[in-house]
Symmetry: C2
Subunit: 308 residues, 2 copies
Protein backbone atom coordinates (compact mmCIF):
# COMPACT_ATOMS: atom_id res chain seq x y z
CA UNK A 1 0.00 0.00 0.00
CA UNK A 2 2.63 2.55 -0.98
CA UNK A 3 0.18 4.41 -3.26
CA UNK A 4 -0.44 8.03 -2.29
CA UNK A 5 -3.89 8.43 -0.68
CA UNK A 6 -6.57 10.31 -2.61
CA UNK A 7 -6.49 13.14 -0.05
CA UNK A 8 -3.77 13.83 2.50
CA UNK A 9 -6.25 14.95 5.14
CA UNK A 10 -10.04 14.69 5.28
CA UNK A 11 -12.31 16.32 7.89
CA UNK A 12 -15.75 14.95 8.62
CA UNK A 13 -17.93 17.58 10.27
CA UNK A 14 -20.47 15.29 11.85
CA UNK A 15 -19.88 11.61 12.58
CA UNK A 16 -23.38 10.11 12.58
CA UNK A 17 -24.47 7.33 10.24
CA UNK A 18 -23.14 9.05 7.10
CA UNK A 19 -19.96 10.60 8.52
CA UNK A 20 -18.91 7.42 10.29
CA UNK A 21 -19.71 5.28 7.24
CA UNK A 22 -17.54 7.58 5.13
CA UNK A 23 -14.70 7.15 7.64
CA UNK A 24 -15.04 3.37 7.47
CA UNK A 25 -15.10 3.42 3.67
CA UNK A 26 -12.13 5.83 3.52
CA UNK A 27 -10.17 3.44 5.74
CA UNK A 28 -11.21 0.47 3.64
CA UNK A 29 -9.94 2.18 0.50
CA UNK A 30 -6.89 3.85 2.03
CA UNK A 31 -8.23 7.11 0.64
CA UNK A 32 -6.87 9.56 3.23
CA UNK A 33 -3.60 10.02 5.09
CA UNK A 34 -5.55 11.30 8.08
CA UNK A 35 -9.25 11.32 8.99
CA UNK A 36 -10.25 14.12 11.37
CA UNK A 37 -13.73 14.00 12.88
CA UNK A 38 -15.79 16.67 14.59
CA UNK A 39 -18.84 16.28 16.80
CA UNK A 40 -20.74 19.08 18.50
CA UNK A 41 -21.09 17.43 21.91
CA UNK A 42 -18.39 15.89 24.14
CA UNK A 43 -20.54 12.78 24.46
CA UNK A 44 -20.53 12.10 20.72
CA UNK A 45 -16.82 12.92 20.46
CA UNK A 46 -16.27 10.25 23.10
CA UNK A 47 -18.51 7.68 21.40
CA UNK A 48 -16.74 8.31 18.09
CA UNK A 49 -13.35 7.90 19.75
CA UNK A 50 -14.52 4.58 21.13
CA UNK A 51 -15.80 3.49 17.70
CA UNK A 52 -12.31 4.28 16.43
CA UNK A 53 -12.97 5.16 12.80
CA UNK A 54 -11.18 8.55 12.90
CA UNK A 55 -7.48 9.28 13.36
CA UNK A 56 -8.37 12.30 15.47
CA UNK A 57 -11.62 13.49 17.03
CA UNK A 58 -12.20 17.17 17.70
CA UNK A 59 -14.66 19.20 19.70
CA UNK A 60 -13.65 22.42 17.97
CA UNK A 61 -14.06 23.14 14.29
CA UNK A 62 -10.83 25.14 13.86
CA UNK A 63 -8.48 22.30 14.79
CA UNK A 64 -10.57 19.80 12.82
CA UNK A 65 -10.34 21.61 9.48
CA UNK A 66 -6.74 22.84 9.83
CA UNK A 67 -4.60 21.79 6.83
CA UNK A 68 -7.44 19.69 5.49
CA UNK A 69 -7.82 18.99 1.74
CA UNK A 70 -11.43 17.83 1.85
CA UNK A 71 -13.94 19.09 4.39
CA UNK A 72 -17.28 17.24 4.40
CA UNK A 73 -20.28 18.69 6.21
CA UNK A 74 -22.14 15.58 7.36
CA UNK A 75 -24.42 17.32 9.86
CA UNK A 76 -28.13 18.18 9.58
CA UNK A 77 -28.64 20.77 6.83
CA UNK A 78 -30.00 23.32 9.30
CA UNK A 79 -26.54 23.59 10.88
CA UNK A 80 -24.66 24.25 7.63
CA UNK A 81 -24.76 28.06 7.70
CA UNK A 82 -23.25 28.35 11.16
CA UNK A 83 -20.65 25.64 10.48
CA UNK A 84 -19.62 27.34 7.23
CA UNK A 85 -19.29 30.66 8.97
CA UNK A 86 -17.24 29.11 11.78
CA UNK A 87 -14.75 27.24 9.59
CA UNK A 88 -14.29 29.86 6.86
CA UNK A 89 -11.20 31.53 8.24
CA UNK A 90 -9.41 28.24 8.99
CA UNK A 91 -9.87 26.58 5.60
CA UNK A 92 -6.71 25.71 3.68
CA UNK A 93 -6.40 27.54 0.36
CA UNK A 94 -7.36 25.15 -2.45
CA UNK A 95 -9.37 22.93 -0.14
CA UNK A 96 -12.57 21.27 -1.33
CA UNK A 97 -15.62 21.83 0.86
CA UNK A 98 -18.41 19.36 0.28
CA UNK A 99 -21.34 17.93 2.19
CA UNK A 100 -23.75 14.99 2.32
CA UNK A 101 -27.02 16.88 2.73
CA UNK A 102 -30.29 15.65 1.24
CA UNK A 103 -31.05 19.09 -0.20
CA UNK A 104 -28.68 20.97 -2.44
CA UNK A 105 -29.94 24.45 -3.35
CA UNK A 106 -29.81 25.26 0.37
CA UNK A 107 -26.07 24.50 0.38
CA UNK A 108 -25.43 27.26 -2.11
CA UNK A 109 -27.66 29.57 -0.08
CA UNK A 110 -26.15 28.75 3.33
CA UNK A 111 -22.54 27.73 2.69
CA UNK A 112 -21.37 29.50 -0.47
CA UNK A 113 -21.54 33.07 0.95
CA UNK A 114 -19.00 32.14 3.63
CA UNK A 115 -16.44 30.43 1.42
CA UNK A 116 -13.16 32.27 0.91
CA UNK A 117 -11.71 32.68 -2.58
CA UNK A 118 -9.69 29.67 -3.71
CA UNK A 119 -11.78 27.19 -1.74
CA UNK A 120 -13.91 24.86 -3.93
CA UNK A 121 -17.49 24.32 -2.80
CA UNK A 122 -18.86 21.15 -4.44
CA UNK A 123 -22.10 19.89 -2.86
CA UNK A 124 -22.67 16.13 -2.84
CA UNK A 125 -25.46 13.78 -1.83
CA UNK A 126 -24.92 10.06 -1.38
CA UNK A 127 -28.30 8.32 -1.89
CA UNK A 128 -27.73 5.82 0.88
CA UNK A 129 -28.71 5.37 4.46
CA UNK A 130 -30.44 3.26 7.04
CA UNK A 131 -32.97 4.12 9.73
CA UNK A 132 -30.21 4.12 12.35
CA UNK A 133 -28.14 7.06 13.48
CA UNK A 134 -25.12 7.94 15.58
CA UNK A 135 -21.41 7.13 15.34
CA UNK A 136 -21.97 3.41 16.00
CA UNK A 137 -24.37 3.05 13.05
CA UNK A 138 -21.78 3.45 10.28
CA UNK A 139 -20.34 0.65 8.16
CA UNK A 140 -17.96 0.64 5.18
CA UNK A 141 -20.37 -0.89 2.63
CA UNK A 142 -23.11 1.74 2.98
CA UNK A 143 -22.27 3.46 -0.31
CA UNK A 144 -21.44 0.38 -2.39
CA UNK A 145 -23.50 0.34 -5.58
CA UNK A 146 -25.52 3.39 -4.51
CA UNK A 147 -25.59 6.66 -6.43
CA UNK A 148 -23.89 9.82 -5.26
CA UNK A 149 -25.07 13.05 -6.87
CA UNK A 150 -22.70 16.02 -7.19
CA UNK A 151 -24.20 19.43 -7.86
CA UNK A 152 -21.27 21.72 -8.69
CA UNK A 153 -21.98 25.28 -9.77
CA UNK A 154 -21.61 25.96 -13.50
CA UNK A 155 -18.27 27.73 -12.89
CA UNK A 156 -16.81 25.11 -10.53
CA UNK A 157 -13.19 24.08 -10.98
CA UNK A 158 -13.18 20.95 -13.20
CA UNK A 159 -10.12 19.43 -11.50
CA UNK A 160 -11.69 19.75 -8.05
CA UNK A 161 -14.96 18.26 -9.31
CA UNK A 162 -13.07 15.35 -10.89
CA UNK A 163 -11.13 14.80 -7.67
CA UNK A 164 -14.33 14.59 -5.60
CA UNK A 165 -16.00 12.40 -8.20
CA UNK A 166 -13.24 9.78 -8.19
CA UNK A 167 -13.20 9.93 -4.38
CA UNK A 168 -16.87 8.92 -4.24
CA UNK A 169 -16.26 6.21 -6.80
CA UNK A 170 -13.54 4.83 -4.57
CA UNK A 171 -16.00 4.93 -1.65
CA UNK A 172 -18.10 2.48 -3.67
CA UNK A 173 -20.61 4.77 -5.38
CA UNK A 174 -21.60 5.56 -8.91
CA UNK A 175 -21.51 9.31 -9.44
CA UNK A 176 -23.96 11.51 -11.32
CA UNK A 177 -23.83 15.25 -11.96
CA UNK A 178 -26.96 17.35 -11.64
CA UNK A 179 -28.05 20.93 -11.25
CA UNK A 180 -28.88 21.64 -7.57
CA UNK A 181 -32.44 22.74 -8.23
CA UNK A 182 -33.20 19.63 -10.28
CA UNK A 183 -31.66 17.45 -7.59
CA UNK A 184 -34.05 18.91 -5.06
CA UNK A 185 -37.03 18.09 -7.27
CA UNK A 186 -35.87 14.53 -7.99
CA UNK A 187 -35.19 13.82 -4.34
CA UNK A 188 -38.51 15.37 -3.32
CA UNK A 189 -40.26 12.47 -5.03
CA UNK A 190 -37.74 9.66 -4.51
CA UNK A 191 -36.94 10.40 -0.88
CA UNK A 192 -38.57 13.36 0.83
CA UNK A 193 -42.21 12.61 -0.02
CA UNK A 194 -41.82 8.90 0.87
CA UNK A 195 -40.48 9.93 4.27
CA UNK A 196 -43.27 12.45 4.76
CA UNK A 197 -45.93 9.88 3.93
CA UNK A 198 -44.33 7.28 6.17
CA UNK A 199 -44.07 9.70 9.10
CA UNK A 200 -47.68 10.69 8.52
CA UNK A 201 -49.24 7.23 8.42
CA UNK A 202 -47.30 6.12 11.49
CA UNK A 203 -48.52 9.27 13.22
CA UNK A 204 -52.11 8.56 12.18
CA UNK A 205 -51.95 4.97 13.45
CA UNK A 206 -50.58 6.30 16.72
CA UNK A 207 -53.63 8.33 17.67
CA UNK A 208 -56.64 6.35 16.52
CA UNK A 209 -59.29 5.66 19.08
CA UNK A 210 -60.93 2.66 17.35
CA UNK A 211 -57.71 0.63 17.07
CA UNK A 212 -55.23 0.33 19.93
CA UNK A 213 -51.50 0.92 19.63
CA UNK A 214 -50.99 -2.70 20.69
CA UNK A 215 -53.07 -3.92 17.77
CA UNK A 216 -51.18 -1.71 15.32
CA UNK A 217 -47.88 -3.16 16.50
CA UNK A 218 -49.10 -6.75 16.62
CA UNK A 219 -50.55 -6.82 13.11
CA UNK A 220 -47.98 -4.57 11.47
CA UNK A 221 -46.65 -7.33 9.20
CA UNK A 222 -49.60 -6.65 6.89
CA UNK A 223 -47.68 -3.73 5.42
CA UNK A 224 -47.49 -1.05 8.11
CA UNK A 225 -44.13 -2.22 9.48
CA UNK A 226 -42.42 -1.27 6.19
CA UNK A 227 -43.35 2.36 6.77
CA UNK A 228 -42.13 2.37 10.34
CA UNK A 229 -38.57 1.74 9.22
CA UNK A 230 -38.47 4.96 7.23
CA UNK A 231 -40.42 6.78 9.95
CA UNK A 232 -37.65 5.82 12.39
CA UNK A 233 -35.13 7.98 10.55
CA UNK A 234 -33.30 10.77 12.36
CA UNK A 235 -35.80 13.48 13.44
CA UNK A 236 -33.39 16.42 13.29
CA UNK A 237 -32.07 15.53 9.87
CA UNK A 238 -35.56 15.16 8.46
CA UNK A 239 -36.96 18.29 10.05
CA UNK A 240 -34.16 20.18 8.31
CA UNK A 241 -34.83 18.47 4.97
CA UNK A 242 -38.47 19.55 4.96
CA UNK A 243 -37.68 23.08 6.12
CA UNK A 244 -35.03 23.42 3.40
CA UNK A 245 -36.77 21.85 0.42
CA UNK A 246 -40.19 23.30 1.08
CA UNK A 247 -41.27 24.24 -2.40
CA UNK A 248 -40.35 20.98 -4.14
CA UNK A 249 -41.85 18.92 -1.30
CA UNK A 250 -45.11 20.90 -1.36
CA UNK A 251 -45.26 20.54 -5.13
CA UNK A 252 -44.85 16.75 -4.97
CA UNK A 253 -47.23 16.52 -2.04
CA UNK A 254 -49.82 18.37 -4.10
CA UNK A 255 -49.50 15.83 -6.90
CA UNK A 256 -49.70 12.95 -4.43
CA UNK A 257 -52.85 14.35 -2.82
CA UNK A 258 -54.53 14.88 -6.18
CA UNK A 259 -53.85 11.28 -7.14
CA UNK A 260 -55.01 10.07 -3.74
CA UNK A 261 -58.32 11.86 -4.19
CA UNK A 262 -58.78 10.03 -7.49
CA UNK A 263 -58.05 6.73 -5.81
CA UNK A 264 -60.43 7.53 -2.97
CA UNK A 265 -63.18 8.21 -5.47
CA UNK A 266 -62.49 4.91 -7.27
CA UNK A 267 -62.88 3.05 -3.99
CA UNK A 268 -66.02 4.94 -3.01
CA UNK A 269 -67.73 4.21 -6.33
CA UNK A 270 -66.38 0.67 -6.68
CA UNK A 271 -64.33 1.31 -9.83
CA UNK A 272 -62.40 -1.99 -9.86
CA UNK A 273 -60.86 -1.41 -13.29
CA UNK A 274 -59.25 1.84 -12.17
CA UNK A 275 -57.73 0.07 -9.16
CA UNK A 276 -56.56 -2.94 -11.15
CA UNK A 277 -54.91 -0.77 -13.82
CA UNK A 278 -53.02 1.33 -11.28
CA UNK A 279 -51.89 -1.71 -9.28
CA UNK A 280 -50.59 -3.35 -12.45
CA UNK A 281 -48.57 -0.30 -13.52
CA UNK A 282 -46.95 0.10 -10.11
CA UNK A 283 -45.81 -3.51 -10.14
CA UNK A 284 -43.71 -2.84 -13.25
CA UNK A 285 -41.80 -0.06 -11.47
CA UNK A 286 -40.70 -2.46 -8.76
CA UNK A 287 -39.25 -4.76 -11.39
CA UNK A 288 -37.30 -1.87 -12.95
CA UNK A 289 -35.80 -0.96 -9.58
CA UNK A 290 -34.70 -4.52 -8.89
CA UNK A 291 -33.34 -4.80 -12.45
CA UNK A 292 -31.39 -1.56 -11.94
CA UNK A 293 -29.69 -3.11 -8.90
CA UNK A 294 -31.29 -0.59 -6.54
CA UNK A 295 -33.09 -3.15 -4.36
CA UNK A 296 -32.99 -6.79 -3.39
CA UNK A 297 -34.97 -9.21 -5.56
CA UNK A 298 -35.61 -11.39 -2.51
CA UNK A 299 -39.21 -11.40 -1.24
CA UNK A 300 -39.78 -9.10 1.75
CA UNK A 301 -36.37 -7.47 1.16
CA UNK A 302 -34.88 -10.82 2.14
CA UNK A 303 -35.92 -10.47 5.76
CA UNK A 304 -37.52 -13.92 5.75
CA UNK A 305 -33.98 -15.24 5.77
CA UNK A 306 -33.82 -14.17 9.42
CA UNK A 307 -36.57 -16.62 10.33
CA UNK A 308 -35.80 -19.63 12.50
CA UNK B 1 -44.36 -40.14 12.30
CA UNK B 2 -47.18 -42.49 13.20
CA UNK B 3 -49.22 -39.67 14.78
CA UNK B 4 -52.62 -39.07 13.18
CA UNK B 5 -52.57 -35.91 11.04
CA UNK B 6 -54.52 -32.87 12.23
CA UNK B 7 -56.96 -33.23 9.29
CA UNK B 8 -57.43 -36.29 7.09
CA UNK B 9 -57.98 -34.24 3.98
CA UNK B 10 -57.46 -30.53 3.31
CA UNK B 11 -58.53 -28.65 0.17
CA UNK B 12 -56.84 -25.41 -0.85
CA UNK B 13 -59.05 -23.43 -3.21
CA UNK B 14 -56.38 -21.28 -4.78
CA UNK B 15 -52.68 -22.11 -4.80
CA UNK B 16 -50.97 -18.73 -5.09
CA UNK B 17 -48.51 -17.38 -2.53
CA UNK B 18 -50.76 -18.12 0.47
CA UNK B 19 -52.28 -21.42 -0.68
CA UNK B 20 -48.95 -22.88 -1.76
CA UNK B 21 -47.25 -21.68 1.45
CA UNK B 22 -49.98 -23.40 3.45
CA UNK B 23 -49.36 -26.61 1.51
CA UNK B 24 -45.63 -26.42 2.22
CA UNK B 25 -46.24 -25.74 5.91
CA UNK B 26 -48.84 -28.55 6.12
CA UNK B 27 -46.27 -30.93 4.63
CA UNK B 28 -43.59 -29.70 7.00
CA UNK B 29 -45.84 -30.38 9.97
CA UNK B 30 -47.43 -33.56 8.67
CA UNK B 31 -50.80 -31.89 9.31
CA UNK B 32 -52.90 -33.55 6.61
CA UNK B 33 -53.28 -37.04 5.20
CA UNK B 34 -53.97 -35.56 1.78
CA UNK B 35 -53.62 -32.04 0.33
CA UNK B 36 -55.96 -31.32 -2.57
CA UNK B 37 -55.39 -28.12 -4.55
CA UNK B 38 -57.64 -26.26 -6.96
CA UNK B 39 -56.72 -23.60 -9.51
CA UNK B 40 -59.11 -21.88 -11.91
CA UNK B 41 -56.94 -22.14 -15.00
CA UNK B 42 -55.26 -25.21 -16.55
CA UNK B 43 -51.99 -23.28 -16.68
CA UNK B 44 -51.89 -22.72 -12.92
CA UNK B 45 -52.99 -26.32 -12.25
CA UNK B 46 -49.98 -27.40 -14.32
CA UNK B 47 -47.56 -25.02 -12.59
CA UNK B 48 -48.79 -26.20 -9.19
CA UNK B 49 -48.36 -29.83 -10.24
CA UNK B 50 -44.81 -29.05 -11.23
CA UNK B 51 -44.17 -27.27 -7.91
CA UNK B 52 -45.35 -30.48 -6.28
CA UNK B 53 -46.73 -29.23 -2.95
CA UNK B 54 -50.17 -30.86 -3.32
CA UNK B 55 -51.07 -34.54 -3.33
CA UNK B 56 -53.67 -33.89 -6.00
CA UNK B 57 -54.39 -30.89 -8.19
CA UNK B 58 -57.89 -30.27 -9.53
CA UNK B 59 -59.42 -28.07 -12.17
CA UNK B 60 -62.94 -28.65 -10.86
CA UNK B 61 -64.16 -27.65 -7.43
CA UNK B 62 -66.41 -30.68 -6.83
CA UNK B 63 -63.62 -33.26 -6.94
CA UNK B 64 -61.33 -30.99 -4.94
CA UNK B 65 -63.64 -30.60 -1.92
CA UNK B 66 -65.02 -34.17 -1.93
CA UNK B 67 -64.60 -35.87 1.50
CA UNK B 68 -62.52 -32.93 2.71
CA UNK B 69 -62.37 -31.98 6.42
CA UNK B 70 -60.97 -28.49 5.96
CA UNK B 71 -61.68 -26.36 2.89
CA UNK B 72 -59.65 -23.14 2.68
CA UNK B 73 -60.60 -20.41 0.25
CA UNK B 74 -57.23 -18.90 -0.67
CA UNK B 75 -58.42 -16.97 -3.71
CA UNK B 76 -59.08 -13.23 -4.15
CA UNK B 77 -62.02 -12.18 -1.95
CA UNK B 78 -64.07 -11.13 -4.97
CA UNK B 79 -64.30 -14.78 -6.03
CA UNK B 80 -65.59 -16.08 -2.69
CA UNK B 81 -69.33 -15.85 -3.39
CA UNK B 82 -69.19 -17.88 -6.58
CA UNK B 83 -66.79 -20.44 -5.10
CA UNK B 84 -69.02 -20.88 -2.04
CA UNK B 85 -72.06 -21.35 -4.21
CA UNK B 86 -70.24 -23.88 -6.39
CA UNK B 87 -68.86 -26.06 -3.59
CA UNK B 88 -71.90 -25.97 -1.28
CA UNK B 89 -73.54 -29.20 -2.42
CA UNK B 90 -70.28 -31.19 -2.37
CA UNK B 91 -69.15 -30.27 1.14
CA UNK B 92 -68.77 -33.11 3.63
CA UNK B 93 -71.12 -32.83 6.63
CA UNK B 94 -69.12 -31.54 9.59
CA UNK B 95 -66.44 -30.01 7.39
CA UNK B 96 -64.79 -26.73 8.34
CA UNK B 97 -64.81 -24.05 5.66
CA UNK B 98 -62.27 -21.29 6.20
CA UNK B 99 -60.38 -18.77 4.11
CA UNK B 100 -57.31 -16.54 4.10
CA UNK B 101 -58.88 -13.30 2.90
CA UNK B 102 -57.70 -9.88 4.07
CA UNK B 103 -61.25 -8.77 4.81
CA UNK B 104 -63.61 -10.66 7.05
CA UNK B 105 -67.10 -9.14 7.20
CA UNK B 106 -67.35 -9.83 3.45
CA UNK B 107 -66.83 -13.55 4.13
CA UNK B 108 -69.98 -13.67 6.23
CA UNK B 109 -71.79 -11.70 3.55
CA UNK B 110 -70.57 -13.76 0.57
CA UNK B 111 -69.91 -17.25 1.89
CA UNK B 112 -72.22 -17.84 4.87
CA UNK B 113 -75.50 -17.75 2.89
CA UNK B 114 -74.35 -20.73 0.80
CA UNK B 115 -73.15 -22.96 3.62
CA UNK B 116 -75.27 -26.07 4.30
CA UNK B 117 -76.31 -26.93 7.86
CA UNK B 118 -73.62 -28.84 9.75
CA UNK B 119 -70.73 -27.19 7.92
CA UNK B 120 -68.63 -24.86 10.09
CA UNK B 121 -67.68 -21.52 8.55
CA UNK B 122 -64.73 -20.04 10.44
CA UNK B 123 -63.02 -17.14 8.62
CA UNK B 124 -59.27 -16.72 9.12
CA UNK B 125 -56.63 -14.23 8.08
CA UNK B 126 -52.92 -14.99 8.31
CA UNK B 127 -51.06 -11.65 8.57
CA UNK B 128 -48.21 -12.75 6.35
CA UNK B 129 -47.16 -12.38 2.77
CA UNK B 130 -44.58 -11.15 0.34
CA UNK B 131 -44.86 -9.05 -2.80
CA UNK B 132 -44.64 -12.18 -4.94
CA UNK B 133 -47.52 -14.28 -6.19
CA UNK B 134 -48.24 -17.56 -7.94
CA UNK B 135 -47.73 -21.23 -7.01
CA UNK B 136 -43.93 -20.92 -7.15
CA UNK B 137 -43.89 -18.10 -4.57
CA UNK B 138 -44.84 -20.19 -1.54
CA UNK B 139 -42.49 -21.41 1.18
CA UNK B 140 -43.09 -23.28 4.45
CA UNK B 141 -41.80 -20.56 6.82
CA UNK B 142 -44.18 -17.81 5.66
CA UNK B 143 -46.41 -18.04 8.72
CA UNK B 144 -43.73 -18.65 11.34
CA UNK B 145 -44.04 -16.13 14.16
CA UNK B 146 -46.76 -14.17 12.32
CA UNK B 147 -50.28 -13.67 13.67
CA UNK B 148 -53.33 -15.41 12.29
CA UNK B 149 -56.67 -13.85 13.18
CA UNK B 150 -59.80 -16.02 13.37
CA UNK B 151 -63.18 -14.29 13.26
CA UNK B 152 -65.75 -16.97 14.14
CA UNK B 153 -69.39 -15.94 14.53
CA UNK B 154 -70.64 -15.69 18.10
CA UNK B 155 -72.51 -19.00 17.72
CA UNK B 156 -69.67 -20.94 16.06
CA UNK B 157 -68.97 -24.49 17.22
CA UNK B 158 -66.22 -24.26 19.88
CA UNK B 159 -64.66 -27.61 18.91
CA UNK B 160 -64.34 -26.60 15.25
CA UNK B 161 -62.85 -23.23 16.25
CA UNK B 162 -60.36 -24.96 18.52
CA UNK B 163 -59.43 -27.41 15.78
CA UNK B 164 -58.72 -24.60 13.30
CA UNK B 165 -56.84 -22.61 15.94
CA UNK B 166 -54.42 -25.44 16.75
CA UNK B 167 -54.02 -26.08 13.01
CA UNK B 168 -52.75 -22.51 12.49
CA UNK B 169 -50.50 -22.82 15.52
CA UNK B 170 -48.98 -25.92 13.97
CA UNK B 171 -48.49 -23.95 10.74
CA UNK B 172 -46.22 -21.69 12.79
CA UNK B 173 -48.57 -18.83 13.71
CA UNK B 174 -49.83 -17.26 16.88
CA UNK B 175 -53.61 -17.12 16.81
CA UNK B 176 -55.90 -14.31 17.93
CA UNK B 177 -59.70 -14.18 17.98
CA UNK B 178 -61.52 -11.06 16.85
CA UNK B 179 -64.93 -9.89 15.75
CA UNK B 180 -65.00 -9.63 11.92
CA UNK B 181 -65.96 -5.96 11.86
CA UNK B 182 -63.16 -5.01 14.23
CA UNK B 183 -60.71 -7.06 12.19
CA UNK B 184 -61.60 -5.03 9.13
CA UNK B 185 -60.94 -1.79 10.97
CA UNK B 186 -57.61 -2.96 12.41
CA UNK B 187 -56.40 -4.23 9.06
CA UNK B 188 -57.56 -1.05 7.33
CA UNK B 189 -54.85 0.84 9.20
CA UNK B 190 -52.15 -1.86 9.51
CA UNK B 191 -52.39 -3.20 5.98
CA UNK B 192 -54.95 -1.72 3.58
CA UNK B 193 -54.10 1.96 3.99
CA UNK B 194 -50.33 1.29 3.77
CA UNK B 195 -50.92 -0.53 0.49
CA UNK B 196 -53.15 2.25 -0.79
CA UNK B 197 -50.56 4.91 0.02
CA UNK B 198 -47.78 2.87 -1.53
CA UNK B 199 -49.72 2.24 -4.73
CA UNK B 200 -50.57 5.92 -4.87
CA UNK B 201 -47.06 7.33 -4.45
CA UNK B 202 -45.64 4.90 -6.97
CA UNK B 203 -48.39 5.95 -9.35
CA UNK B 204 -47.61 9.63 -8.75
CA UNK B 205 -43.90 9.12 -9.41
CA UNK B 206 -44.81 7.31 -12.60
CA UNK B 207 -46.45 10.24 -14.32
CA UNK B 208 -44.49 13.32 -13.33
CA UNK B 209 -43.26 15.49 -16.13
CA UNK B 210 -40.46 17.25 -14.20
CA UNK B 211 -38.71 14.05 -13.11
CA UNK B 212 -38.13 11.14 -15.49
CA UNK B 213 -39.00 7.53 -14.73
CA UNK B 214 -35.30 6.71 -15.13
CA UNK B 215 -34.41 9.18 -12.38
CA UNK B 216 -37.08 7.80 -10.07
CA UNK B 217 -35.68 4.28 -10.48
CA UNK B 218 -32.06 5.33 -10.22
CA UNK B 219 -32.41 7.30 -7.01
CA UNK B 220 -35.05 5.13 -5.37
CA UNK B 221 -32.76 4.06 -2.53
CA UNK B 222 -33.56 7.35 -0.80
CA UNK B 223 -36.82 5.83 0.45
CA UNK B 224 -39.05 5.33 -2.56
CA UNK B 225 -37.91 1.76 -3.22
CA UNK B 226 -39.44 0.62 0.09
CA UNK B 227 -42.89 1.61 -1.18
CA UNK B 228 -42.44 -0.18 -4.49
CA UNK B 229 -42.22 -3.54 -2.75
CA UNK B 230 -45.71 -3.19 -1.32
CA UNK B 231 -46.95 -1.63 -4.54
CA UNK B 232 -45.83 -4.78 -6.36
CA UNK B 233 -48.41 -6.90 -4.53
CA UNK B 234 -50.99 -8.86 -6.48
CA UNK B 235 -53.36 -6.45 -8.32
CA UNK B 236 -56.45 -8.69 -8.28
CA UNK B 237 -56.17 -9.48 -4.60
CA UNK B 238 -55.77 -5.83 -3.69
CA UNK B 239 -58.52 -4.59 -5.95
CA UNK B 240 -60.84 -6.98 -4.13
CA UNK B 241 -59.62 -5.87 -0.71
CA UNK B 242 -60.45 -2.24 -1.41
CA UNK B 243 -63.80 -3.05 -2.98
CA UNK B 244 -64.73 -5.22 0.01
CA UNK B 245 -63.52 -3.08 2.91
CA UNK B 246 -64.60 0.23 1.51
CA UNK B 247 -65.98 1.90 4.61
CA UNK B 248 -63.10 1.13 6.94
CA UNK B 249 -60.54 2.07 4.29
CA UNK B 250 -62.29 5.38 3.54
CA UNK B 251 -62.49 6.11 7.26
CA UNK B 252 -58.75 5.52 7.77
CA UNK B 253 -57.92 7.39 4.58
CA UNK B 254 -59.89 10.36 5.91
CA UNK B 255 -57.81 10.38 9.09
CA UNK B 256 -54.61 10.06 7.10
CA UNK B 257 -55.54 12.99 4.84
CA UNK B 258 -56.45 15.19 7.80
CA UNK B 259 -53.10 14.53 9.40
CA UNK B 260 -51.30 15.09 6.10
CA UNK B 261 -52.92 18.50 5.76
CA UNK B 262 -51.59 19.39 9.20
CA UNK B 263 -48.12 18.27 8.20
CA UNK B 264 -48.34 20.20 4.93
CA UNK B 265 -49.20 23.35 6.85
CA UNK B 266 -46.28 22.81 9.23
CA UNK B 267 -43.90 22.59 6.27
CA UNK B 268 -45.42 25.61 4.55
CA UNK B 269 -45.08 27.80 7.64
CA UNK B 270 -41.74 26.36 8.74
CA UNK B 271 -42.96 24.87 12.04
CA UNK B 272 -39.86 22.84 12.88
CA UNK B 273 -41.04 21.89 16.36
CA UNK B 274 -44.17 20.24 14.98
CA UNK B 275 -42.07 18.19 12.57
CA UNK B 276 -39.48 17.23 15.15
CA UNK B 277 -42.13 16.13 17.67
CA UNK B 278 -43.94 13.93 15.15
CA UNK B 279 -40.71 12.38 13.84
CA UNK B 280 -39.67 11.54 17.39
CA UNK B 281 -42.96 9.84 18.26
CA UNK B 282 -42.94 7.71 15.11
CA UNK B 283 -39.45 6.45 15.88
CA UNK B 284 -40.73 4.90 19.11
CA UNK B 285 -43.33 2.84 17.23
CA UNK B 286 -40.63 1.25 15.11
CA UNK B 287 -38.85 0.14 18.27
CA UNK B 288 -42.06 -1.43 19.63
CA UNK B 289 -42.55 -3.42 16.42
CA UNK B 290 -39.01 -4.75 16.48
CA UNK B 291 -39.35 -5.54 20.20
CA UNK B 292 -42.59 -7.42 19.48
CA UNK B 293 -40.73 -9.63 17.00
CA UNK B 294 -42.76 -8.32 14.06
CA UNK B 295 -39.79 -7.00 12.08
CA UNK B 296 -36.07 -7.40 11.72
CA UNK B 297 -33.87 -5.19 13.92
CA UNK B 298 -31.23 -5.13 11.19
CA UNK B 299 -30.78 -1.78 9.41
CA UNK B 300 -32.57 -1.61 6.04
CA UNK B 301 -34.48 -4.81 6.88
CA UNK B 302 -31.10 -6.58 6.66
CA UNK B 303 -30.86 -6.09 2.93
CA UNK B 304 -27.36 -4.63 3.21
CA UNK B 305 -26.25 -8.17 3.91
CA UNK B 306 -26.76 -8.86 0.21
CA UNK B 307 -24.05 -6.40 -0.69
CA UNK B 308 -20.82 -7.57 -2.23
Amino acid sequence: MSAKPHFDRVALIGVGLIGSSMAHAIRRGGLAGHIAGYAHTPEIVERARKAGFADSMHDDLASCVKDVDLVVLAAPVGAFASIAQAIAKDLKPGAIVSDTGSVKAAVFRDVAPHMPRGVHLIPAHPIAGTEQSGPEAGFPELFDGRWCILTPAADADPAAVEKLKTFWEKLGSQVEMMEAKHHDLVLAITSHLPHLIAYNIVGTANHLEQVTKGEVIKYSAGGFRDFTRIAASDPTMWRDVFLNNREAVLEMLGRFSEDLTDLQRAIRYGDGDFLFDLFTRTRAIRRSIVDAGQDSAAPNFGRNKDKP
